[in-house]
Amino acid sequence: DAGVTQSPTHLIKTRGQQVTLRCSPISGHKSVSWYQQVLGQGPQFIFQYYEKEERGRGNFPDRFSARQFPNYSSELNVNALLLGDSALYLCASIPGLAGGSYEQYFGPGTRLTVT
């Protein structure tokens, strides 16, 4: 089975632009979370989606938004990019929220560079 996949692998954008990152969870996984990992730091929680609904949001500005599609894939959008948005963006999936399914499976990440 394929693991969590993310696209693109790398991305370079200019300040003020908008970017969309994509994530496909493991087949059968219904919950996706997004994390931002700035160089030298641990991942910071941005969003959690389950069954197409937002279930959690971290301390990020409204420039960050996300959605989950009927096939459980997800997109993360960032508007009005700032230099500080440069980071590795990680997607993680789990089967569901119940039954103790608490092992996250991470994707390889998208490296976003804002110039």
Partner: protein, 115 residues
């Protein structure tokens, strides 16, 4: 709010020796989970070991074991018989029960195994 602290930014260990990575956390929750994740230079996050807070017995996974001290809010990782493939960033992570996959990560410890 939950915080996770890893006070050792870098550590090194000789191959075949044992090393312990430290992690402390702060929470008012009584029901939660703790994790150690490994992030090799290839950047894919991999689960190393998981501990349920309600379990008094320390988790063990082959060469990896934890020392979970709930009252002290301490969760250290011991790696025995260190191998070159253990070289990676190690992140301690906290998750409140029933939040699915909303993780709080520490800043990481960079471990180098020396041949």
């Amino acid at each position: 709010a939950q915080t996770v602290t890893q006070s050792q930014p870098e550590m090194s260990v000789q191959e075949a020796e044992t090393v312990t990575l430290s992690c402390t956390y702060d929470t008012s929750e009584s029901n939660y989970y703790l994790f150690w994740y490994k992030q090799p230079p290839s950047r894919q996050m991999i689960l190393v070991i998981r501990q349920e807070a309600y379990k008094q017995q320390n988790a063990t996974e082959n060469r990896f074991s934890v020392n979970f001290q709930k009252a002290a809010k301490s969760f250290s990782l011991k790696i025995s018989d260190s191998q070159l493939g253990d070289t990676a960033m190690y992140f301690c992570a906290f998750m409140k029960h029933a939040t699915g996959n909303q993780f709080y990560f520490g800043t990481g410890t960079s471990l180098t195994v020396i041949p």
